[in-house]
């Protein structure tokens, strides 16, 4: 008996849907329950970040970068200030570099905790989400201790930081790391090695390495496909070349290389690597240093342009800044890793059931604030 093809049905998932991680509409063409094509419809969270930047001074852009990838704001700040400092040729003090790395890695952990927790939520596990949010809360407390804000920090400035670390931060951070590491194993037992979870994710939504590279997918999604590419190692910025850490890549332990489980696994391992980096950074953190020392009185870029990319929790985060020598940038372009991750969705989700589409979308870990900007 041949396969019966019925009439195609169009299903709209979103824009208000808990599994789309923000305001994203998926225009899903289905044949029965099998998905034949997906068209992501974006732009519901468009706030004209790039256009706004043309009217802002270089310092004023930083709070706007916070609002792009709002669950990893420190990393967004980091990418922008690293680009600007290279543009202006500013050498920042050692202490600032170390604090930046600590903050960026803490935020990477917080971001991955959300990614994994909500992924559990997507595939039907509620408990890990609560546990992970509990740990994320402690990271946010550390941030609040440092810069007063819990989500949108405006912490890293061109040439320095807004505040130095508060007294007692290092101890508080060590306390958090000591508590966090055993929890990590708990999460793995709770969700990652759970048979039901493996059945839902292993061999589902396989993203082959070539496809990932062709689409420009970066970050944990690319590493889940077995490609060892991490800008912290391959193109070290700031002081990442001083730290000893591994790049976990997907090996297809439970299914084939590049499936949803691999992407989940890579994120889980990356948290452990981030803990390693933070520990080393806390150890070497110089006691002396003024975080406001290298701040330029007024940021005024020379004529020209710069493109600098950094590794955000979602992948290559690039800033392309063009200056015409005036006080405001002529153009700021942000290369969003989540955007490329979303563009590959149709490629890998076609042929799967609707419920698998949710699992695949969750494994890509997109943030709509960054896609729409």
């Amino acid at each position: 008996m041949g396969i019966v093809h019925g009439e195609e049905m169009v299903l709209n998932i979103g824009p208000q849907h808990p599994s789309t991680h923000g305001v994203l509409r998926l225009h899903v063409q289905t044949d029965g329950e099998v998905v034949s094509h997906i068209e992501p419809v974006i732009g519901y969270l468009h706030r004209c970040f790039e256009k706004h930047c043309e009217h802002l001074t270089y310092e004023q852009v930083i709070p706007y970068t916070d609002r792009c990838d709002y669950i990893a704001s420190m990393n967004n700040n980091f990418g922008y200030v690293v680009a600007m400092e290279e543009f202006l040729g500013i050498q920042v003090p050692e202490r600032v570099e170390y604090i930046r790395v600590i903050m960026a890695e803490l935020n990477r952990i917080a971001s991955h905790l959300i990614a994994l927790g909500t992924y559990g939520l997507d595939v039907g596990a509620f408990t890990p989400f609560l546990y992970m949010f509990r740990d994320r809360e402690r990271i946010l407390d550390l941030f609040e201790l440092t810069c007063g804000a819990r989500l949108l920090y405006n912490y890293m400035w061109v040439g320095g930081l807004s505040h130095d670390l508060p007294v007692g931060f290092v101890d508080a951070c060590y306390r958090f790391l000591d508590d966090f590491e055993p929890n990590l194993k708990e999460y793995h037992d709770l969700l990652m090695y759970n048979k039901i979870f493996i059945e839902r994710t292993a061999d589902v939504g396989v993203l082959p390495a070539e496809v990932a590279i062709q689409y420009g997918v970066t970050g944990p999604n690319l590493r889940g496909s077995g490609v060892q590419w991490d800008l912290r190692k391959n193109e070290p910025y700031s002081i990442y070349d001083r730290f000893d850490f591994d790049i976990p890549v997907g090996t297809g332990q439970m299914g084939s290389v590049g499936d949803c489980w691999d992407r989940y696994w890579v994120r889980a391992q990356e948290m452990a690597e981030s803990v390693k980096i933070i520990r080393q950074a806390l150890q070497d953190l110089p006691a002396e240093g003024n975080v406001h020392e290298a701040l330029p009185r007024k940021v005024r870029a020379p004529k020209g342009s710069i493109y600098k990319r950094t590794e955000s929790p979602r992948g290559d985060l690039g800033y392309y800044i063009i200056s015409d020598g005036k006080g405001t940038p002529f153009r700021v372009k942000m290369r969003s890793p989540a955007f490329t991750a979303l563009s590959v969705l149709s490629e890998i989700a076609s042929g799967w059931m609707i419920s698998d589409v949710i699992a695949i979308l969750g494994s890509l870990d997109i943030v709509l604030g960054e896609i729409d900007r």
């Binding site: 310092e59 509990r134 810069c147 807004s162 505040h163 508060p166």
Partner: protein, 192 residues
């Protein structure tokens, strides 16, 4: 057949591991472990927990407050604001008129006619507080709590009440202040 049995074994064992973890958490739970009954209890601000030296910086992100008596009308905060939620209008005082000194002993040369902060537009980036030469614009709480205590929630029923008018002088008032010769005047802060 073997695969089938292994599958069942794996499902049951991993499920039990997960249940064990949740059970351990359930047993460990203490009162006040996580949930805070918010309106009755408020989360303590971090500096009270750790007690760091906050003489030099303010890490609180709360609502903005202006000590209008100290304001010299330099417009630095207005220029620093990325969302332009601060609106200042000043009038230049004639040479003969003495507007008084700020608490930093700076002579005031401009009369601040209007100083509005639209708190519903504010993005809490704290950029306006750094350039102030007189340290008169600040986020409430933290090291400034002796000047102004922190407000946890400053919600209003009317959106217009979120526009804080720190100075709103009518034309007559301005004229009166700048009349030559005038006795030394201290600006009346009008704050809602």
């Amino acid at each position: 057949m073997k695969r089938w049995l292994v599958n069942i074994w794996e499902s049951v064992s991993t499920l039990l591991i997960g249940m064990g973890i949740t059970w351990r958490h359930l047993r460990r739970i203490r009162k006040g472990n996580v949930t805070l009954q918010y309106p009755e209890e408020t989360w303590p601000r971090p500096e009270r927990l750790i007690g760091f030296d906050h003489q030099h910086y303010n890490v609180i992100r709360s609502r903005l407050h202006v000590d209008i008596d100290d304001c010299i009308g330099c417009l630095k905060c207005e220029r620093a604001c990325p969302v332009s939620c601060i609106k200042i209008e000043t009038v230049k005082a004639p040479k003969e008129v003495d507007l008084g000194l700020t608490s930093h002993d700076t002579k005031k040369r401009l009369l601040v006619k209007r100083f509005d902060i639209d708190m519903s537009e504010c993005m809490y980036c704290n950029l306006c507080t750094y350039p102030c030469p007189e340290e008169c614009i600040y986020m409430t709480g933290g090291p400034n709590s002796h000047k102004h205590p922190i407000d946890y929630e400053f919600s209003e029923y009317d959106r217009n009440n979120l526009i804080y008018r720190f100075a709103a002088l009518s034309d007559e008032e301005v004229e009166q202040r700048l009349r030559v010769p005038a006795p030394p005047v201290t600006n009346e802060a009008s704050h809602d």
